[in-house]
């Protein structure tokens, strides 16, 4: 897929979902598109439903996104 990865922000608390990074700690592999996340998915931090996220085109701060700590079973 050629389309650029997008970033989605929870309007309930500010939790960020970046398609490029996924959310492995919440069972979403890197590269998981927003459209492929179930409609009943909710913000893992505050419970806000998926449809109340907003797609944002905001750049990362310097040094972000920080490398995720290696987990058991990964390199």
């Amino acid at each position: 897929m050629d389309e650029a990865f997008k970033r989605w922000l929870c309007l309930g608390c500010g939790f960020l979902y970046d398609e490029a990074l996924g959310a492995p700690e919440h069972g979403l592999a890197p590269g998981t598109r927003w459209a492929d996340i179930p409609e009943d998915w909710r913000c893992p931090d505050c419970g806000t439903p998926k449809h109340l996220f907003e797609m944002v085109e905001i750049p990362y701060a310097v040094g972000q996104p920080a490398a995720r700590p290696a987990r058991e079973g990964s390199l």
Partner: protein, 249 residues
Amino acid sequence: MNPGFVLRAHARGFNRFLSTGDSSSYIGGHPDATLTRHSSFNFGPYQSGLRGFGRLRVFGDETFSGAGCGYNIHPHHNFIICAFVLKGQLTHVNTVGNIDQLGAGDYYAFSAGSGGKHCELNLRHEDANILYVWMLPDQLLLPPSYGRSHFDAVADRNRLVALVGNADGAVRISQDVKISRLSADRALELDYQPRAAEHGIYVFVVDGQAQVNDAALGARDSAGIWGAATLRIRTDAEGCDLLILETVP
């Protein structure tokens, strides 16, 4: 981008939360604390109104009633959250390392950035009335930061004072939004000039009444205006207290 609008006080969203039942873990205070929220923009259970204005996403006029009422500690990322205490006292604990007690005129700007938690409680028996403003940051996952300051309604009366944004004496934030306050105790006429033609202005009347360009606004009424070269604000002899929020689109 929204077209311009006038939002009357009674047309805002309204929600009431109790410190018991479903919201008991989120809402502090026991027994029988009640938190009420009037929302200018969609937030939480209120989703039938405006989606925001420029970079602003939340504008909540909230009252914490009953000792201990407020929000128990909860997480945030990214949003820049400002609170302006109008009445009563707010105790604010956050993971940037602050425990603050804020009274009338005090305000803070908490940039949650890469992640933070905070707790906000009214520990007194008198009601606390607080205005909450949330805005998008200009960068994601910034280091969390916190600043607080005070608006002196007597010393600063009858002139426009910048509280938040890129201005002398204001609390700096990482977004091109400026929040100013005017507390007038006499009739006056003031021209507010946005820094750029594409900026939007959201005016919220805290107390009294004001004429803002063509709109007559009463207490807790507000208006959003795009593309105005000048905003002419007129107050009457009974005085007026209002906030002006200037935002990039």
